[in-house]
Symmetry: C2
């Protein structure tokens, strides 16, 4: 029997790379999709491509420009990425991009429907990113229902499954799981404001979270510049 197809949203970061390994470990025939949405740098797109290649999956790149309407430090030159703010937010930080996961998941559903896939994986996590409404379980569950109602699924009597296996894992648990599955974290890129050579700044929220999690495991983040 053919393996069931699944779509995964790949950002090039640590979480989605782990999520991909989990999807493959569950036996899915995985199709990647990544987004060139006007983020400040293309390093994460290169990382997504490397990760997809290593996992042996195809990668669809969808391009659109969220800078046209702005609203986030990740897409606007007028808002600075904060440094050393730590990872705990109760309200959306300036790196929040309005409705980004809603848009990404919607494209994922369209691609999945065309492929004949019912399963979509997304590496969202509400432990580290509680300030991002579009990373929370309530959103993911509601989206799953909306996607089913808005596609052929509803007429054909099946439903989309949005898998968010990292939802309640701490960063160090995610890394541990990924290492068991052979993820090469040196290939991943999570930094919001990399240096001119493409290495992580080691100071932004995203860097701080990773570095701390690897340290908890007695390791140095393998994506950092060699010393």
């Amino acid at each position: 029997m053919d393996k069931q197809k699944a779509v995964i949203l790949l950002s090039g970061g640590l979480d989605s790379a782990t999520c991909l390994a989990i999807a493959q470990s569950e036996g899915y025939d995985v199709y990647g999709v990544t987004f060139d949405y006007g983020q400040r740098h293309n390093i994460e797109l290169d990382a997504a491509k490397r990760i997809a290649d290593r996992a042996g999956i195809p990668l669809l790149t969808i391009r659109f420009d969220m800078r046209l309407w702005g609203g986030s430090a990740l897409t606007s030159d007028e808002i600075n990425v904060p440094h050393g703010e730590g990872g705990d937010h109760e309200t959306a930080p300036v790196t929040y991009v309005p409705a980004r996961n809603l848009i990404f998941l919607s494209f994922g559903v369209s691609y999945a429907e065309t492929l004949g896939a019912k399963d979509i994986f997304i590496g969202v996590n509400s432990m580290d990113y509680s300030g991002y409404p579009d990373c929370r379980d309530a959103f993911v569950k509601a989206f799953q229902q909306t996607a089913t109602l808005g596609t052929k699924a509803i007429d054909e009597n099946w439903q989309f499954n949005i898998h968010a296996p990292l939802q309640y894992m701490k960063k160090s648990e995610i890394i541990t799981r990924g290492m068991e599955l052979g993820v090469d974290y040196s290939m991943t890129h999570s930094c919001y404001s990399p240096d001119p050579d493409g290495f992580p700044c080691e100071e932004c929220d995203s860097c701080t979270l990773r570095i701390r999690a690897f340290a908890e495991l007695g390791m140095r983040d393998p994506a950092l510049r060699k010393r």
Copy 2:
């Protein structure tokens, strides 16, 4: 007091042009958004621009290419647009684009969040397009809830309102309402496969519906080629 802002999804067609007029008649300060998504022709984008200009509203054009993953006669060169099939479908026709309105509405939400708008207008209609799951009321209602959960709305304790004022109107009722509001239907474009001069084919589902509705009102569709 400043007028409340609203976002409208404009396709250049008859329905969204009417929906825009309704939004303005309700007193909203309307911001248009249209999509260049790899549809076969740009005539509808030109129509959207004309309609926005005439209504005196700004128009944001968001570009992405759904042909990359295909799946519809409207975006694929390999699937033909059917002629004279009539407007009544119980399952999705080949002109259905997977999750199109899910993607469009998601961009609308992102734009609205950046603008500080809570209201989004979409000219979907489930009388004529019952075969399109993403035009139905159940989908629109579920989307509204998902959008609220996935944005700052949930933390700020407000909700998005997705307005679909044409949902239960017949095409002839839509036209009657639009004419009361001064919509110039000669500017609108609805045809799936226009002729080389950009005039409607008069044979596709979309043309057939319009022509019939104007005929019921004792009129000739003003967008047709002059005879």
